[in-house]
Amino acid sequence: MSGSRTNDTGRQFHLPAWLPAYLQAAPLTIILGGFLLLPLLMIAIVSFWDYDFARMYPDFVTFNYSETLGSWITWKTYLNTLKFAAIVWAITLFIGFWVAYFLAFHVRSTAMQMVLFLVCTVPFLTSNIIRMISWIPVLGRNGLINTALVNTGITTEPVEWLLYSDFAVVLAMVHLYTLFMVVPIFNTLMRIDKTLVEAAHDAGATTWQVLTNVIVPLAKPGMAIGTIFVVTLVMADFSTVQVMSGGQSASVALMMKNQMSLLQYPAAAANAMVLLVLVLLLVAAILRVVDIRKEL
């Protein structure tokens, strides 16, 4: 933008010094204010309202919070959600790092790197729901895996825990979210100066030492960004948990969805505020450990 200089005299108008800066910031402020802060504020306000089966009553009551925080089911659900987040995070980080490592250090040509990277994104050409539901005929009691196991005589009975279990939930989430780990880690690994690796080798480091002392520390910002993606996605997930656990497992977002389908909006709003605070704390903790600005 031009016109930010204010000491140009003799013009017809004269923008005050502060105006251009505000104008430049205005579009983002309007978008964030209108579509993020305002809705959040409304959720915060509604979380203090009273309700019955049909209406909400503007009020200031705290029982939405005391009912949410005072119930063992909330705590158990949060623990369960955190458990999913931790397991999925660990697995996606492991897989994501090695996929990115392979792409960045073992694939020689840039063209091939890009081709393989695009291959990683192919599953994203279909929708989340379809990728999730397509596991059901694979894992089901009469599904592909069980049919194969029984027909080859490895097991006599179909394996029950493949579907409608925590295993199924974690499997589907890893499938859905690993790419969110691969992309940022691949990005940081590509920026690592190859001479650093050579220097480490020259100084007598083994491949393992190069990995642990050079590559992993330099990849941390990418891992942190991937972690933020995966953790927030898992914490906010309800459809994967519902479909893959057959409605048998609970997650925080699913609890909110149940409340909303019963029109208990204030209770759901209170729950949303608690979840928001928790996720913000998690993100703050990640940012304290890793400086992601190195990435940017």
């Binding site: 049909a54 209406r55 089911i73 208990q264």
Partner: protein, 429 residues
């Protein structure tokens, strides 16, 4: 598809109604409807109907347009949203197509006006189940929100339900059915006779119940009582202790791995059954038909404790008056005059005015669906798809056998909010 009205804003439509419909309104004469169809086509009468979707059928809207000239605009929602909309947006609909337990929540707020039974042409033909709670004089009145308990009020502006039959009807019943457990006869390997069979350890990990609290709790109550765990004073209106006992039992069964999954939508229940993940579960009758139409054996098993039943009807919005109110009455009289009843009966539901519906069904259809006789030829759905081959007999038998053995109706409890909270605990446990 329903025909779109030319105008979409309420103001224009209303002013059209006021001027244009006056003549037709006078012609029809309030309280003096002598016969129909009065063709409303010359004035664009539109009735906005919203409801839970079971009877929001386009074919009905088309037939209504052809017979009466009334354009029906239908909106389908789930039952919780329907209850909310009925109360919070009373001007957004003319006809409420809701279940009786929703009516129990909604009517006291004054958004539905009672109907004058004298203006209901087929009131006399309504099956007694909706008037006295008894299908036959010696039936036992079922527990829960039985339609007759919320069917009447004492006067046009009363908000309390009357204890017996009066001339003010809260809703005209239209559609109802008796629900039970669906089974895979090829996979259960034994006779299923009671609701308690769903808890048989032999079916561990192969059962499912539905995750809709207000209905699921009733299925659970049927199971609890069948197992002899508890005797409810009224399973449609449990005390906190009874709710606790029921939910604790469910939680234990869940943790023991009795359930394979919980379903929320119709298609989920079909898939669970068709894939063999589940061999016995709560089910709705069209879902059983859907499994069977895939060529997979599925039975809507009658059980000795009886059925869990549900029923819905059409209610008039409070704001209706004048020509529009007359049109609404005429629509309801048309609805109960037989064509729709035959349509619903052939879908496996029941119509409230059985006598009128009979004229619109073939003898074979009537025999199969209502009298429980073996089908003489192929039984077709209203859309023309073959549902059953010749020789088939309806699960549960005749109308009297099925609706005469209703143990409880879908309900709304006084401790509704507590029940929902505990139900969520069960799902999360």
């Amino acid at each position: 598809m329903t025909e779109k009205t030319k105008t979409s804003t309420g103001i224009t439509r209303r002013s059209l109604l006021k001027t244009g419909a006056a003549a037709a309104g006078v012609a029809a004469g309030s309280g003096a409807i002598t016969g129909f169809p009065t063709i409303w086509a010359q004035t664009p009468i539109t009735l906005r109907q919203f409801g839970t979707g079971v009877s929001n059928i386009n074919a009905i809207a088309e037939k209504c347009k052809a017979d009466l000239g009334i354009t029906l605009e239908m909106t389908a929602t789930d039952s919780d949203a329907a209850a909310q909309r009925a109360v919070t947006q009373p001007d957004s609909y003319d006809i409420a197509d809701i279940e009786y337990w929703i009516l129990k929540k909604v009517f006291p707020t004054g958004v539905i006006q009672p109907m004058d039974t004298k203006k209901l042409k087929y009131y006399d033909k309504v099956v007694p189940l909706f008037k006295t709670g008894k299908l036959t004089p010696d039936s036992v009145i079922a527990q829960g929100t039985a339609p007759h308990t919320v069917g009447y009020v004492e006067s046009i502006d009363a908000k309390e339900f009357a204890s017996g039959e009066t001339e003010w009807f809260t809703m005209m019943p239209t559609i109802y059915n008796a629900d039970t457990l669906g089974i895979r006869p090829d996979l259960v390997g034994r006779e299923i006779t009671t609701w308690a069979d769903i808890m048989d350890p032999a079916f561990k990990g192969k059962t499912s119940i539905l995750n809709i609290p207000s209905i699921g709790i009733m299925d659970a109550a049927m199971i609890m009582e069948a197992m002899g765990n508890i005797k409810y004073a009224d399973k449609g209106n449990m005390t906190k202790e009874e709710i606790d006992a029921t939910i604790d039992f469910l939680i234990k069964a869940k943790q023991d791995g009795q359930f394979r999954a919980f379903w929320k939508s119709f298609d989920e229940s079909v898939n669970l059954m068709a894939s063999g993940e589940v061999v016995i579960q709560s089910m709705w009758s069209p879902a059983v038909a859907a499994v069977r139409s895939k060529g997979i054996a599925c039975k809507y098993q009658p059980l000795k404790e009886g059925y869990r039943s549900w029923g819905g009807g059409l209610g008039l919005a409070s704001h209706l008056s004048g020509a529009q109110l007359d049109a609404a009455y005429e629509y309801i009289n048309w609805y109960t005059s037989g064509w729709v009843g035959g349509y619903l009966n052939r879908q496996g539901y029941y119509s409230a005015c059985m006598d009128t519906a009979k004229d619109y069904m073939s003898a074979d259809e009537w025999g199969y669906w209502i009298e429980g006789k073996p089908a003489q030829g192929d039984i077709l759905s209203p859309e023309g798809k073959v549902m059953e081959k010749a020789g088939a007999v309806r699960d549960g038998g005749s109308f009297e056998e099925r609706m005469g053995h209703v143990a409880c109706w879908n309900s709304v409890m006084d401790e509704d909010r507590y029940m929902v909270r505990r139900w969520n605990e069960f799902i999360a446990s």
